[in-house]
């Protein structure tokens, strides 16, 4: 088995083997298990460590929507870049966003054409930029799930406290719970259980997942990112399925408090409210699935300070990002995968971020297989 070559790199290969054996023991022959890992960080780790190679064939991992740049529809990138073209505006974003394709190229390509675009590592850096250049208006392109949204909230609270008025946030923060519900409600989607996100759960805690067990009768186990964490979470899920239980369990208790992070939740509540609806790539419009700034922060809301075009673009026809995001297709089943769409020249956002299923698959499976084949 090819993936086994990684096992010796693991901190405790013996425990890995034991967990893998336990998984094999727990699966019932003749039953096909479909388990979704919600978080893109887990997707990355699963491919990097070749964990699928340790699993029985009737246990299938479905890669979920937990990659922020992957689920953002192209129109929002275009909207952000429209702001970047306004005179006097400095557009700031995280590194991942810089390479996300818009209709007329990525932020990086717009920068090369002369737009004032800067990469930042923290929203606080964008705020500092505004303070140090009062003649400009700094827009921060905010993106991310509940892991990242508190940092934007605290930055906005700081901007208000300091009275910085040449700073605003173009808010694209999304929330994971409505996306999970949308996936559970989507026709034809059959899932047995979820590996719950690690870092999102440090903020929201474990309670918000209870509807999955109560309303849908499916287990969810919040998991750490190490290979052993992921395998242990699968063991916990399979034990629940074998016992006919559906509970929220926390495998990652060393980092994730059951109640979440209360100061973070308070900051989110003070600064943001839910949008009535928001478009997700692949999942369509999902009600109450994204955040916008409350009226008290209208002055710092790019969408209210400026006229945002509200662009809607459909993905390039041949790209099947949506199907991959829903787990209907595996990355290499997309017609563009590895040909028109590569990490160097991504057509879709799933090829951009290391958390995107396509980039992870391309990096760890596709290249390895290509290097191993004798070639023409």
């Amino acid at each position: 088995m090819q993936a086994m070559r990684y096992v010796d790199e693991f901190r405790d290969p013996k425990l890995i083997r034991q967990a893998a054996e336990e998984i094999r023991r727990l699966v019932q022959p003749g039953r096909h298990y479909r388990i979704m890992e919600v978080c893109g960080g887990h997707t990355h780790a699963i491919y990097r460590f070749g964990l699928e190679g340790l699993l029985p064939e009737n246990l299938e991992l479905i890669h979920g929507p937990g990659c922020p740049v992957c689920v953002l529809p192209m129109g929002r990138t275009d909207d952000g870049l429209a702001l970047a073209e306004l005179p006097g505006v400095v557009f700031t974003a995280f590194g991942d966003v810089m390479r996300v394709p818009g209709t007329k190229g990525s932020p990086l390509e717009h920068k090369a054409r002369g737009a004032e675009i800067r990469m930042v590592y923290s929203p606080l850096d964008a705020l500092k930029l505004a303070q140090s250049d009062p003649g400009k208006h700094v827009v921060f392109f905010a993106i991310g799930f509940e892991t990242t949204a508190p940092s934007t909230a605290l930055t906005l609270l700081r901007a208000r406290q300091l009275g910085v008025r040449n700073f605003s946030v173009f808010c694209n923060h999304v929330t994971i719970i409505p996306a999970i519900r949308a996936i559970l409600d989507s026709p034809g989607m059959r899932l047995d259980a979820f590996v719950g996100p690690g870092h999102v759960s440090t903020v929201i805690g474990c309670r918000p997942y209870e509807f999955i067990t109560e309303d849908y009768g499916k287990p969810l186990v919040v998991s750490g990112f190490e290979p052993l964490d992921i395998l242990q979470s699968l063991v916990m899920i399979l034990r629940q399925l074998a016992d006919g239980r559906a509970e929220v369990e926390n495998q990652y208790a060393r980092v994730v408090p059951w109640e979440g992070n209360l100061p973070a939740l308070r900051a989110l509540d003070e600064v943001f409210e839910l949008r009535p609806y928001f478009e997700w790539r692949g999942l369509g419009f999902i009600s109450q699935s994204a955040l916008k700034l409350r009226d008290a922060f209208a002055e710092w809301d790019s969408e209210r300070r400026f006229t945002v075009p509200g662009i809607r673009v459909t993905d390039p026809k041949a790209a099947q990002c949506g199907e991959v995001l829903k787990g209907v297709l595996k990355p290499p089943q997309c017609k563009l995968f590895g040909r028109e769409c590569t990490p160097e020249r991504p057509v879709g956002a799933l090829m951009v971020s290391s958390e995107g299923a396509c980039a992870a698959y391309h990096h760890y499976v596709h290249r390895v297989a290509a290097a191993a084949s004798p070639g023409p």
Binding site: S122, P123, P263, A264
Partner: protein
């Protein structure tokens, strides 16, 4: 995107809620507002995300996380991020 970088708190600054953290020998200021109720102080280990300490972890947990980042090929990216934080530096 959801990089969580382990660092050790060296000192709490007078200008709360910032603290000086050290990650693999590099010192930068990060915001510790989200952990103020956890009673953190010098010597504690935290996970850092986009300039904010998100959770308190054990020293073992920090080493594990660093190893994990290296295995995922994200250790350099993590150091670039830590070195890139500008907000805690003098203007």
């Amino acid at each position: 995107m959801c990089l969580a970088i382990p660092g050790r708190i060296i000192e709490m600054t007078a200008d709360l809620p910032l603290a000086v953290v050290e990650v693999s020998g590099v010192r930068r200021q990060v915001n510790v507002d989200l952990l103020r109720e956890d009673g953190i102080g010098p010597g504690d280990w935290v996970l850092i995300h986009v300039g904010f300490a998100m959770s308190k972890i054990s020293e073992d947990g920090a080493q594990e996380q660093m190893r994990m980042l290296a295995m995922l090929g994200e250790d350099q990216q993590a150091m670039d991020e830590i070195q890139g934080y500008d907000f805690g530096r003098e203007p």
